[in-house]
């Protein structure tokens, strides 16, 4: 059974049709590259899965049960994590505080509970070590490099037992070495049976790490095929519209 199934999902903002009648399934332990030009509807689609937007039409099913999300916290409860394109970090807080933002660890009894700094520093440190990133939990995010910021955002998704991790352009603004690190991390997630959706403009990254590629153009899905049976040339054609649609 597929871990996530989207059926005829549409989203419009007023007269603008951002996503139009998109259906696809997501299997556990699968990396799916989601590609398309700017404004093709990739981010909107992902934001619906993450609970930021509600679909105008269509349904989502997770493990066979209907999935209705009103806010991001509910998506998290279902095991859906997202790494936002702008990383959604607070510069004035430490790395550990950012990792735990919105789900801070606390200790104490009943209503008298205080933030558990020690535990958050410790666990954040472990996650950075797992990611092989030289990121110090106590440092302010303000002072960090692009790769470290990425590590902080990705560490967030590893806090709980995620089933699906959505990544919006994770390799857009980092160095070549760090791209390799992020791709390794994606494989690491996949090997744990997590389904990863990778939104990217970078053809090499998608063909390097993804099992399947979904191409969107003007809000519609125009292709959904195995990486092995596709080629960068074909995908480029699909993105630009040179190739209309493939089965």
């Amino acid at each position: 059974m597929s871990v996530l199934e989207l059926a005829n999902i549409s989203k419009h903002f007023g007269a603008i049709q951002a996503v139009n009648d998109v259906s696809f399934t997501l299997e556990a332990g699968e990396v799916v590259g989601l590609m398309g030009d700017n404004g093709a509807g990739k981010s909107t689609l992902v934001k619906m899965i993450a609970g930021n937007f509600r679909p105008s039409h269509g349904t989502m099913h997770m493990d066979g049960k209907e999935l209705i999300l009103h806010k991001p916290a509910e998506a998290r409860q279902h095991g859906i994590e997202i790494v936002h394109q702008d990383l959604a970090l607070c510069n004035n807080l430490t790395a550990a505080a950012n990792v735990y933002l919105g789900r801070e660890l606390r200790r104490g009894i009943g209503p008298f509970r205080i933030l558990d700094y020690a535990a958050m520093y410790k666990r954040a440190g472990q996650l950075f070590a797992e990611l092989k990133s030289e990121t110090r939990p106590r440092d302010l995010v303000k002072q960090m490099s692009g790769g470290q910021r990425q590590a902080v955002a990705i560490a967030r998704t590893m806090l709980s037992q995620a089933k699906i991790v959505l990544m919006d352009e994770p390799t857009a603004a980092i160095s070549v070495r760090q791209v390799a690190e992020v791709l390794n991390l994606i494989r690491h997630l996949r090997d744990q049976g997590i389904a990863v959706v990778l939104i990217s403009h970078r053809m090499p990254d998608v063909f390097d790490v993804a099992d399947r590629v979904i191409v969107m153009r003007r809000g519609r899905k125009v292709a959904d095929k195995k990486i092995a049976s596709s080629s960068p040339e074909e995908v480029t054609g699909l993105i630009t519209g040179a190739i209309e649609q493939v089965a």
Partner: protein, 332 residues
Amino acid sequence: MAVTLDQTIAQKQHTFLSRLFASQTFWVVIAVILACLFLSVATDAFATQKNLFNITRNITFVAIVALGMTFVIITGGIDLSVGSVLCLCSMVLAVTMHAGYSIEIGILASIATALAIGAFNGVLIAYLGFPPFVVTLGMLSVARSLAMVASNNTVVFQFGPDHDKLLALGGGAWVFGIANPVLYMILLALITGFILRWTKFGRHIFAIGGNEHAATLTGVPVRQIKVAVYMISALSAGLAGIIQTGWLGAVTTNLGTGMELQVIAATVIGGANLAGGVGTAFGAIVGAALIEVIRNSLGLLGINAFWQGTFIGGAILLAVLFDRIRNFRRSD
């Protein structure tokens, strides 16, 4: 020996001292201490028990409101209505007690008024997207006008059956001869400091000030927290109003006029950033202290009181200048 990844991760970048020297609050504390030492030597009147009692008590009203304002400023907002809210809450207390009700009912009515105003401000700002500056500017006008309506613009100085209790509450010195308002200030500062440092709510306030969009995306209840901070700000103004009523023994409708600017000045001098994301309880108190010491010293040194504004304005600019210099160095 090669440094392993784990060692790098475990490394603490900042020692206690380096953090201390990098904080604006620390330098303001030094300025306050130096000013006090100088005044003790230069004048006979400064280091007297009576003058110190006066200074500490005068700090409190601005400081208590500044504590509430700190919450708002950390979220990146501003509350211009605090002076008027202080006046309205004092007036509600005074009028209620004057009408013969007990002090408990008077205080309850006063606090309820403060919370209602804070909630009104907060809802307009958080749910309807009004700019904080505009909403609280409007409330500055509305609250003072309501105070005039409530009292028919008269001075209230008789507080019914619990008159003496109210005066003792604000004017007494129950512990070690320390003025009561000072005790309230210390208590409220401790509570504020605790909330900011140790609670989830406090952490979320900083997150909203740092990156409101990120806070929303990560599931922080941004709107509810924004309403809460404006309620806290109004509540602190209300509490300061109650205490000040007890201390003064009379309420006029021009109480707290222009106070919002002193309060904002105190928080900024103490290290809060109007752009949001930075601020401490201790800083608010220290900022209020510096302003009061400047004011007191000008009087004692025989400098014309008209110069007050110049010196306080200078202190604001100097405090922020320190912050700018540090940032320049960092961006190099």
